[in-house]
């Protein structure tokens, strides 16, 4: 089943906005650009999943790398603490993982 990445990006943005609440408007520009980059990495993971050329360790590394990059950008704003930034990044990836989980039966996504 093909993944609608445009919808996934919107859902991920909504998830981040939900965690950040009023601070979302402050970081929207930077966070949206980073979310687009995160979705591109997720699409690359999808291609690797189709080719069966990704291991659990590699997936976990890519996932955590993107979460760190997103939380780093969010935390660079004074109003957002590291815990909230990490929660927001995790919420974004949960949306991505759900999409991959639905489309591909990679054992480590469950």
């Amino acid at each position: 089943m093909a993944i609608d990445w445009g919808q996934v990006e919107k859902d991920a943005e909504a998830a981040v906005a939900g965690v950040l609440a009023n601070d979302w408007q402050t970081v929207k520009t930077a966070a949206s650009a980073q979310l687009t980059a995160l979705i591109q990495v997720a699409q690359s993971i999808e291609q690797q999943a189709q080719a069966k050329s990704i291991t659990q360790a590699e997936y976990e590394s890519l996932k955590l790398g993107q979460q760190r990059a997103l939380s780093g950008i969010l935390h660079s704003y004074a109003a957002i603490g590291i815990v909230i930034a990490e929660q927001a990044a995790a919420a974004a990836w949960d949306v991505v993982a759900q999409a991959l989980r639905t489309a591909y039966k990679l054992p480590f996504l469950f």
């Binding site: 650009a33 980059a37 976990e60 955590l64």
Partner: protein, 183 residues
Amino acid sequence: MTRVYSIARVACLMAMLTAAGVAGCAAPAYDETTDKSISTLQNDIDSELISLASLGERIERLRNRDDAASKKALADALSKASFDANSASYDKIDLDLTTVRLRIDAEPNASTENLDAALGSLRDNLFGEKSLRDTHSQEDVLHSAYVETEKQTLDQQLQALLAYEIVLKKGASSSKSAADGSQ
């Protein structure tokens, strides 16, 4: 891809500069040594990742061949792609990163905290839990697609640092031009 990362890095840069402005401190000064140190770091990371991706592609291609020459080439590529064969490169990158961090921390200014956070995040992705090195150590040989995707993330983080230095450099050039013009 590049355009999106450019937007992201400029947005990150704006956050760094805004933080410096809000703090009400003097604008950070351009430091050529820091600039060169970041470039060295980027070159070493890129060289390592390009090499690993190339070896990964060669391994994936050779795995399907049965002739003796291909088997020998595969063994050679597997050896070069192994974690042990690359541990010295990781040590060099670690040293590069420490050099940049020390240089930035030696002359603290309003942006140091944000730069340290950016470097910390980069270090986590290179050497922390489930990082590039951690994954390489665990898997011994990495898939080329993984390396290329990991490179996207690391480049994005490095470009934010380089963009910051470019802005400082332009500011330094403008100040010098203004000073020369007033003489």
